[in-house]
């Protein structure tokens, strides 16, 4: 099955349910880059009424809203194909809600804990902090060779890794959760992240990493196409935008710190102040 004769099969899991944030683009990027590397590739779009099947090389699963996310976990559990495919050594790219449902449990607006598929060692909970929205910048695990990973995060859930390692360290944005600066999950078979964009469109090195992990695949040098220069331009712009977000949030945090210090000072002054006239001024 190896070599140039092989057709890489990319399974796009439930684009009807988990297709809200453009993540279906990850499947297209894998297929197109496979062709640019001299390989054959096909995309199998698997709707929520279809059997997932366990014979694809890569499974791609994306983000979605609460209701569809719950429907997806129900359908995928009943189907069982994803679990079999992972046991069989397939590659998996999971984004946002797609990553959450693969964990042990996740949260929705209506329910603090919905049972996940239990295929990844992570758990996602509710938080009272604001929704994490904005450019996300991650320094990928060195083993990936992907360098800086850029994406756009938009999630309320807070994900804790129970074991294993993240995709990388967060340089700007929130990533998995507010308490630690890491994003996603990485193993020899799995690339998972909160990065929309889509992830593989913004970070072609990760697409090539996933393709290169498929047994028997050898990537030929990339065919030169003029539009490819736009990827680099886009990456520089988005990396700069993420760094700007980081600086803005640092300033806001400092201002927030100064404001709370001022409030403490003011209340101390009030409690020790002489009269009510002084109080009303403050």
């Amino acid at each position: 099955m190896a070599g140039a004769g092989k057709t890489i099969r990319v399974a796009l899991v439930y684009p009807d349910l988990l297709g809200t944030y453009g993540d279906s683009g990850n499947a297209q990027v894998l297929a197109v880059r496979a062709r640019m590397h001299g390989l054959r590739a096909e995309i199998l779009a698997i709707g929520s009424g279809d059997a997932i099947g366990d014979d694809a090389d890569v499974y791609v699963i994306g983000g979605g809203e609460d209701g569809p996310q719950q429907a997806a976990v129900v359908a995928a559990r009943r189907d069982g194909g994803l679990a079999r495919a992972l046991q069989g050594g397939a590659q998996l790219v999971a984004i946002c809600a797609g990553m959450q449902i693969l964990g042990q449990a996740f949260a929705t607006a209506d329910s603090p804990s919905v049972e996940g598929l239990g295929l990844l060692p992570l758990i996602t909970r509710h938080s009272n902090r604001p929704r994490a929205v904005g450019e996300l910048l991650v320094e990928a695990d060195p083993s990936t060779g992907a360098g800086l990973v850029t994406g756009y995060e938009n999630h309320a859930g807070q994900t804790e890794l129970l074991e294993g390692r993240p995709l990388g360290q967060v340089l700007a944005g929130v990533g998995n959760r507010y308490e630690e600066s890491i994003d996603g999950f990485l193993s020899g078979q799995v690339v998972a992240s909160y990065c929309h964009g889509p992830l593989l469109a913004r970070n072609p090195a990760l697409a090539d990493l996933v393709l290169g992990r498929i047994p028997g695949v050898v990537l030929a040098p990339l065919a030169d196409e003029p539009w490819v220069a736009s990827i680099g331009e886009m990456r520089s712009e988005r990396i700069a935008a993420a760094r700007a977000r980081h600086r803005r949030e640092e300033v806001l945090e400092a201002a927030g710190g100064a404001a709370s210090a001022a409030r403490r000072w003011a209340s101390a002054l009030r409690s020790s102040g002489p009269g009510s006239g002084r109080r009303s001024l403050l």
Binding site: V32, P68, G134, G197, P198, A201, W227, S230
Partner: protein, 419 residues
């Protein structure tokens, strides 16, 4: 340029409302004089600040028709205004802003109008219904738009549902082929159901009631779990012919391009019919509309004739690309990602651009590299240029189509106006 017409001082309403109007007109005049725009947005904000109840006061005595949807609300409002205009004096918020303050400001210029055609932002429909007590609402579609700052589609549908339940006297003209709209109007006391040809469905793949995946046929949907399904409708649009109760059939024609504009026209004609106007006259009035706030306008840029189109979200882009599929003109596409557009461009991958593959395409806008990457992965050969005017000049042929998302489109209109 008068600061305020005599009207301002003769306006009905409370002293606070009239004071608000005087100040708002002054502010609007100052804003225009300073060259910062039409002044309506500022005037609206001043009016609302002085008179928080301004919208109910401005709407008093008017028969209001509200139009809301994710896509097509501006055009359909213009069509409703034209349709109502066959029988009544009509005022519309055609200049501006589709939230409370802007609507109040627009209605305060009512003159002798008896009816109002009002475009309403989807999220503001409940509060605007509360203030204006409309005789009818016209609801077309709900799909994703600016996910980084607007809540989920389902939540908007839930809020519509509550608002409709709270106003049983209001006639609800709704496209029930859209599952989200069908859900929102499910309990409407006075429903006028219309079935338009199916559009974007990717935001309504699960049952809005119970989250089970919906089963779709060509024209209908049904939930296998709870029984939520296409309710059926007395009004249908099929191949440009609107059919209604009693064997009524009206052939729609629109000067505006695209299948979606026939659908918008159908909604306006149904509205006119249920308000007692002659549907054929309404359809004729609508067919004369050639542009709406610069959308669909044909204009000269240098020695090119440029058709200007706006598309703001995946559903709008997909409909626009489908419309352009049979058209050989070069296209200039411009994408920005300002706050008004949504900062996340991931949605570009929800649009299939491949119908544009065999023609000249130029990617522009502040996020042209995102667009260029997306077009590249779709196999659409293109150039990437930073200046829209130069891009139009670089097109081969005398006619060009320009498609921009919200701020890219507005920016282009301004540049063309400057000459």
């Amino acid at each position: 340029m008068p600061i305020a017409s005599l009207d301002t001082f003769r306006a009905r309403g409370s002293a606070r409302f009239r004071a608000g109007l005087v100040l708002a007109r002054g502010a609007g005049w100052l804003s225009r004089a300073a060259g910062t725009g039409t002044g309506t947005a500022l005037a609206g904000r001043v009016l609302q600040a002085v008179s928080p109840d301004c919208l109910s006061e401005a709407a008093t005595g008017l028969e209001c028709v509200l139009v809301s949807a994710t896509n097509g609300k501006t055009t359909t409002t213009a069509m409703v205004a034209a349709a109502l205009g066959t029988g009544y004096q009509v005022i519309s918020n055609s200049l501006g802003n589709n939230m409370t303050a802007g609507i109040a400001e627009a209605l305060s210029h009512r003159g002798g109008a008896t009816h109002a055609a009002i475009e309403v932002d989807e999220a503001h429909l409940p509060s605007v219904m509360e203030s204006t007590r409309p005789v009818a609402v016209v609801l077309m579609n709900l799909s994703r738009d600016q996910l980084d700052r607007v809540s989920e589609v389902r939540k908007v549908a839930d809020r519509w549902r509550e608002a409709i339940a709270a106003h049983p006297e209001c006639m609800v003209v709704a496209n029930v082929a859209d599952p989200m709209v069908a859900y929102a109007v499910e309990n409407a006391a006075r429903l006028v159901a219309v079935e338009l040809p199916p559009g974007w469905r990717l935001d309504a793949t699960v049952c809005p009631r119970c989250d089970t995946p919906l089963a779709f046929t060509e024209t209908a949907f049904a939930c296998p779990n709870c029984g939520f399904a296409s309710p059926g409708a007395p009004w249908h649009l099929d191949a440009g012919v609107l059919t209604g109760p009693g064997g009524l059939a009206v052939t729609l024609s629109a000067a505006l391009p695209g299948a979606f504009n026939l659908a918008n026209a159908a909604m306006a004609v149904v509205l006119a019919a249920v308000l007692g106007l002659d549907p054929q006259s309404a359809a004729d009035a609508i067919s004369a509309i050639a542009e709406v706030k610069g959308r669909f306008a044909r204009t000269r840029v240098g020695d090119r004739e440029v058709t200007l189109l706006m598309a703001k979200n995946p559903a709008g882009w997909q409909a626009t690309v489908a419309m352009l599929a049979t058209d050989g003109r070069p296209v200039v596409l411009a994408i920005n990602a300002e706050i008004a557009d949504g900062k996340d461009t991931s949605w570009l991958y929800d649009v299939d651009f491949t119908p544009l593959a065999s023609r000249q395409v130029i990617a522009c806008g502040r996020r042209r590299h995102d667009l260029s990457t997306r077009l590249g992965y779709d196999g659409v050969g293109h150039l990437c240029m930073d200046d829209e005017m130069e891009a139009i000049a670089a097109c081969l042929g005398a006619e060009v189509v320009f498609v921009g998302n919200y701020t890219a489109f507005q920016g282009m209109r301004k540049r063309i106006a400057r000459g």
